[in-house]
């Protein structure tokens, strides 16, 4: 037999013993290796195993809602459902495509294109198919859970803003936190991909509105599939905030602005509360709530009219003749304006150059003009002369006192500073000497001077309040949690609250003259409001020289900026409105628009308590009200009749009051799911309607219009403002007036 061998051929047993030792050695090495891992490294590897299997799944905290001053809802959240497709879970994806496309209202090719785009990612990773799917699409997915296991939905809270750009600049919008913001310590809280306020109240009050995201610890496998849950850290929802905005006034302001380019701000000068804020052109913040399309974003950024800019606090423009109010106070406080009388011949020569008065364009002149007529007729020659006499230093001093060239400290992001020019300012910025002629231009609010609408309204409403200037704000300070008070005090530096001592006599002169502006004698006679003590000042600020405008053949884009600052009542006003209409040409045109907001406010106040139209003209600043009565200035003689009041109510077409929920407001929102007004399929209209009634216990902000009539003074009805005799020697018929500054 081949292969058999001598049985004596034994292998030396020492060789087998050697092999036994080798085996033992190998096993000892293996055991020592196990010892190293399982005894010495056990703790480390256990931690690694935990990190492997436990995943923190964030629970997104809903942002706080935003309400108006009466608790009416402005910004809400809504549950938005996004549909995902997980290729790994599909039975047969290709044959499912037509059914999926039909159920989600997509084209099959569109769906295939989406799948193609994600073809390189792992099969277990969800592909987002449709954001914001409709209830019937959700029902489709639920009904086909067995046939289409690859479809999954995720619900998250999204922002729901008023549509059509209503108060868009004020509210702002949210978006994913940007790289730059993550470097900012203020946003240290955030992770990439988090949603953060990017503009307006959403940005400035982000620390309050944002909640704190919670998390769930889930056990996952290596594919990220959840196998079980461990602990839960609930999300802390963001706090809701109440704005000082009055939706009714905001609505009136939006309507008044229409599509005109510019801005409108209405404030309560007693507190600085902003009642309405509009900027035009506007944008739809809902576009940002869902990821904004690149094209839309580019369009917003490249639009020359800059729809994202909040012109109410960011536009810096020459104030034109509205600046004359500040200059008048400067001249009166200096003691030279009271007795100053200027004979206007349609222009005058200063420092060797001829300066025209606006009236010369009408081949007229103002004749002998004092401070009062200078204001209500807006006589340029008077203010040229006053400016010359005061000098730039005094003008700049008073401009700065009233906060020009400084931020107001409004609680909105990126407020502009403006410019109050002075010789130092010019030397600092241009290294040039101040020319005396520049003082004359600044005297009528032209030249280098630039203000923001919010600055102007704070200054002039402050003058109306007898020198009590308030920091404008859009959120009640009481809404800010104590731990954030310090943050908000430091966050928005500016001129803030100030009391400027103004001689009551000077205060009366200026405010009485402003009240005349809206009479037939003044520059804004067409903005006259029957029965309302409406004071104001127009302004038409050139943006290019007349010579240049003529050389390029005019054009609407080069028209003057039309300003109007108005308030009611004339002293210690409850509401002040600034309206800036770019290329609006004439200040009185802006005055007519601003008057609608004033009228809406007064009308609302009157309806609140079925109040008698009665106003007492104060003659002391609110803060310095002496206990003894000071004779009121009675300019108004005629008594209004009930019929007149009704007629007026009809003419003004007032908005719904807070007591009568604004049904019109419901139309502010449209269904985000369909982009149509047919919201029958969504939850939105129900919610909006239920949130509009005034919450119980809310006290309405009462103004002087609600004061009970004083029997001693009721013989006169100051609301009926009859124009006094036309001051001025030119005998123009009011009906022929076409323009004013």
């Amino acid at each position: 037999m081949a292969g058999t061998a001598n049985k004596d051929d034994k292998i030396p047993s020492i060789k087998l013993t050697a092999i036994q030792y080798v085996i033992a050695l190998i096993l000892v090495i293996l055991v020592s290796g196990l010892w190293r891992l399982q005894v010495l490294g056990a703790q480390n590897y256990r931690a690694l195993a935990q990190a492997n299997r436990i995943r923190k799944v964030p629970i997104l905290a809903p942002r706080g809602k935003i309400f108006d001053r009466y608790g009416r809802l402005i910004v809400d959240n809504y549950p938005s459902v996004t549909c995902f497709l997980v290729p790994e879970q599909a039975h047969d994806l290709d044959s499912d495509i037509p059914l999926i496309a039909e159920g989600l209202h997509m084209q099959p090719d569109q769906l295939r294109a989406v799948l193609l785009r994600y073809r390189h990612q792992p099969k277990y990773q969800p592909i987002p198919l449709q954001q914001d799917i409709t209830p019937d699409e959700q029902a489709f997915i639920a009904a086909h859970a067995n046939e289409l296991p690859e479809l999954e939905t995720i619900e998250e809270q999204r922002r729901l803003y008023p549509s059509n750009g209503f108060a868009a600049h004020l509210i702002g919008y949210v978006g994913e936190v940007s790289e730059d913001m993550l470097d900012d310590p203020r946003y240290a809280f955030y992770q990439p991909g988090d949603v953060v306020g990017r503009s307006g109240v959403e940005e400035s009050y982000d620390p309050i509105l944002r909640g704190q995201d919670g998390s769930r610890d889930v056990i996952v496998d290596s594919h990220g599939r959840e196998l079980g849950a461990l602990g839960i850290e609930p999300a802390v929802p963001g706090k809701s905030i109440r704005l000082t905005i009055d939706l009714d006034i905001q609505k009136a302001a939006e309507d008044a602005m229409g599509q005109r380019e510019g801005a409108l701000v209405a404030i309560d000068p007693r507190t600085g509360e902003v009642l309405a804020m509009v900027s035009r052109p506007t944008f739809d913040p809902n576009d940002f709530a869902i990821r904004i399309h690149r094209k839309q974003w580019d369009a917003l950024l490249t639009n020359p009219e800059n729809p994202l800019m909040n012109k109410a606090i960011q536009a810096q423009l020459a104030p034109g003749s509205t600046f004359k109010i500040i200059e008048a106070i400067a001249g009166l406080q200096d003691g030279i304006a009271q007795t100053l009388k200027v004979d206007c011949h349609g222009g005058a020569v200063f420092y060797g150059r001829y300066f025209k008065c606006w009236i010369t364009a009408r081949h007229q002149s103002h004749g002998i003009t004092d401070i009062s007529k200078g204001i209500y007729q807006s006589c340029d020659v008077f203010f040229y002369t006053l400016a010359e006499k005061l000098g730039i230093d005094k003008i700049a001093y008073w401009g700065h006192r009233f906060g020009l060239g400084e931020k107001t400290g409004i609680d909105l992001p990126n407020e502009a500073t403006g410019i109050m020019p002075s010789p130092e300012w010019k030397m600092r910025n241009y290294h040039q000497k101040w020319f005396a002629g520049e003082t004359i231009s600044v005297g009528i609010g032209q030249g280098a001077i630039a203000v923001t609408p919010i600055q102007l309204i704070r200054a002039i409403a402050g003058i109306g309040s007898g020198g009590v200037l308030k920091r404008p704000h859009v959120v009640f300070p009481s809404e800010i949690p104590p731990d954030l008070t310090g943050y908000y005090q430091s966050q928005f530096p500016g001129s803030g609250d100030q009391v400027i001592a103004i001689d009551p006599a000077n205060w009366e002169i200026v405010t009485d003259a402003m009240a005349q502006v809206t009479t037939f004698a003044g520059t804004a006679g067409m903005a006259h409001l029957d029965g309302i003590d409406f004071a104001g000042k127009t302004g038409s600020a050139q943006i290019v020289s007349n010579a240049y405008k003529a050389s390029v053949g005019g054009g609407a884009k080069l028209n003057d900026t039309a300003w109007f600052v108005g308030m009611t009542p004339r002293r210690n006003p409850e509401i002040a409105v600034v309206l800036m209409w770019q290329n609006g040409s004439e200040g009185y045109l802006s005055a007519r628009l601003a008057a609608r907001v004033i009228a809406a406010y007064v009308d609302k106040q009157r309806r609140e308590a079925d109040n008698l139209p009665q106003v007492v003209n104060a003659t002391k600043p609110a803060e310095a009200n002496p206990p003894t009565a000071v004779p009121t200035v009675q300019q108004n003689k005629a008594a209004p009749t009930t019929g007149a009041k009704q007629k007026e109510a009809g003419r003004l077409q007032p908005n719904a009051t807070a007591n009568q929920p604004a049904t019109a407001m419901a139309a502010l929102w449209t269904s985000p799911a369909n982009g149509t007004n047919d919201t029958s399929g969504t939850q939105i209209p129900k919610r909006v309607a239920s949130l509009f009634p005034l919450p119980a216990g809310t006290t309405l902000h009462a103004g002087t219009f609600l004061l009970p009539p004083d029997p001693a003074k009721s013989t006169a009805h100051p609301l009926r403002t009859k124009p006094p005799a036309v001051a001025g020697s030119h005998g123009r018929s009011p009906s022929r007036r076409k323009s004013g500054t």
């Binding site: 037999m1 081949a2 292969g3 058999t4 061998a5 001598n6 049985k7 051929d9 034994k10 292998i11 047993s13 060789k15 087998l16 092999i19 036994q20 080798v22 085996i23 033992a24 190998i26 096993l27 090495i29 293996l30 055991v31 290796g33 196990l34 010892w35 190293r36 891992l37 399982q38 005894v39 490294g41 056990a42 480390n44 590897y45 256990r46 690694l48 195993a49 935990q50 492997n52 299997r53 056990i219 996952v220 496998d221 290596s222 594919h223 196998l227």
Partner: protein, 364 residues
């Protein structure tokens, strides 16, 4: 040749160790596949084991000298089947290792080759008659192992190809290689590694061979398996996480926890205590095999058993070494533990031959 075989001489002790390891294997496969699509692999393993036991008993009845006689023919068939795999084999994960036969059976010829190589080498060294080895003898022995090794490398299956080497080494050692020859061979092999590294190995093989040294360099790529295996073993601690409770195993972080990485899964769930118990079983089993080799009736019996020992200790060292990060990932299964029919059948057929050698020790 007359035979008087008695089951009194059957190695029941060895059988106890084999049975114990088989039971542990089935339980761990059950635990490791519980929540995966490989669930019920434990039941399939039981079938393979049953088939293994039957084969073992059948083979224990066949005189191993008959195997020695037909070894040359078997070796020829081996080479043919390996060549066939390269031509008609089924490609799985980029390698042709399997032949599909009608009836859904597929098998991996490279496993069987191990067994036949053991017998062929035993026959070869026996025929040398115990004289001192010449260089010619050595090169012949290397050729016998080298040809199938190259064919398997071509599949490519580096791991299985490497398991042929210890059969040759133990054969040469027991066959009577002189120290000087061994030293020269060792030097030559060391020098040959350099060109082999650059010419023969594929990049992924090189990466697998080196990534175990620094598994954290590329935790998502080639280091992933090692890293997950280390985490599994380490987190087991001394007493383990408990059966069906190892997060690495149950969460599918550990790759193929029922075959190549079954020891990692076992270590995670049963800790150092369980691991030492299993290694102790292996140690006792190997010692028992060496004892059988010592008591074998003739030289080929000894050589065959020691060949089996060589393959087993090599696979244990490489597989456990891989699981605990001392060895590269080579895809060598752990004998008697890893799931898989070919591997189970190899072990049991080998034990069948060992049983026959043991039962024949008093027979002539």
């Amino acid at each position: 040749m007359r035979r008087f075989l008695s089951y009194r001489d059957f190695d029941w002790t060895l059988l106890v160790f084999v049975l114990a390891l088989s039971v542990i294997s089935v339980l761990e496969i059950y635990s490791a596949t519980l929540h995966t699509k490989f669930v019920h692999f434990d039941e399939k393993q039981i079938l393979w084991l049953a088939g293994g036991f039957v084969s073992m008993f059948v083979l224990s009845l066949i005189d191993y000298h008959i195997l020695l006689d037909i070894a040359v023919w078997a070796y020829g068939i081996c080479l043919l089947s390996l060549a066939a795999v390269l031509v008609v084999g089924t490609k799985v994960l980029g390698a042709r290792r399997w032949i599909h036969l009608p009836g859904g059976i597929h098998f991996q010829p490279s496993e069987w080759v191990k067994l036949i190589l053991i017998v062929v080498l035993a026959r070869y060294f026996t025929n040398l008659g115990g004289r001192e080895l010449t260089w010619k003898d050595i090169f012949k022995a290397m050729a016998i192992v080298g040809v199938p090794m190259l064919l398997v490398l071509k599949q490519p299956d580096l791991g299985t190809a490497l398991t042929y080497a210890p059969v040759l080494l133990v054969g040469l050692f027991l066959g009577g290689i002189r120290f000087r020859q061994a030293a020269i061979l060792f030097l030559a092999a060391s020098l040959a590694i350099v060109p082999a590294w650059y010419k023969v190995l594929k990049p992924y093989q090189k990466q697998r061979l080196t990534s175990f040294l620094q598994p954290d360099n590329d935790p998502r790529g080639s280091g992933y398996q090692i890293r997950q295996s280390l985490i599994a073993v380490g987190s087991g601690g001394i007493w383990g996480q408990g059966a069906e409770r190892g997060s690495q195993t149950q969460g599918d972080f550990l790759p193929i926890p029922y075959t190549d990485f079954i020891f990692a899964a076992f270590c995670e769930e049963h800790g150092l205590a369980g691991a030492i118990f299993v290694l102790l079983l292996y140690f006792l089993l190997l010692m028992r095999l060496v004892q059988n080799a010592q008591t074998a009736a003739d030289l080929p019996g000894t050589l065959i058993i020691m060949g089996v020992v060589a393959v087993l200790i090599f696979q244990i060292a490489v597989n456990v070494g891989m699981v605990i990060g001392l060895m590269p990932v080579t895809g060598i299964p752990l004998p008697l533990m890893s799931y898989g029919g070919s591997s189970v059948l190899f072990a049991f057929l080998a034990f069948g031959i060992v049983m026959n050698i043991r039962m024949s020790r008093f027979v002539n």
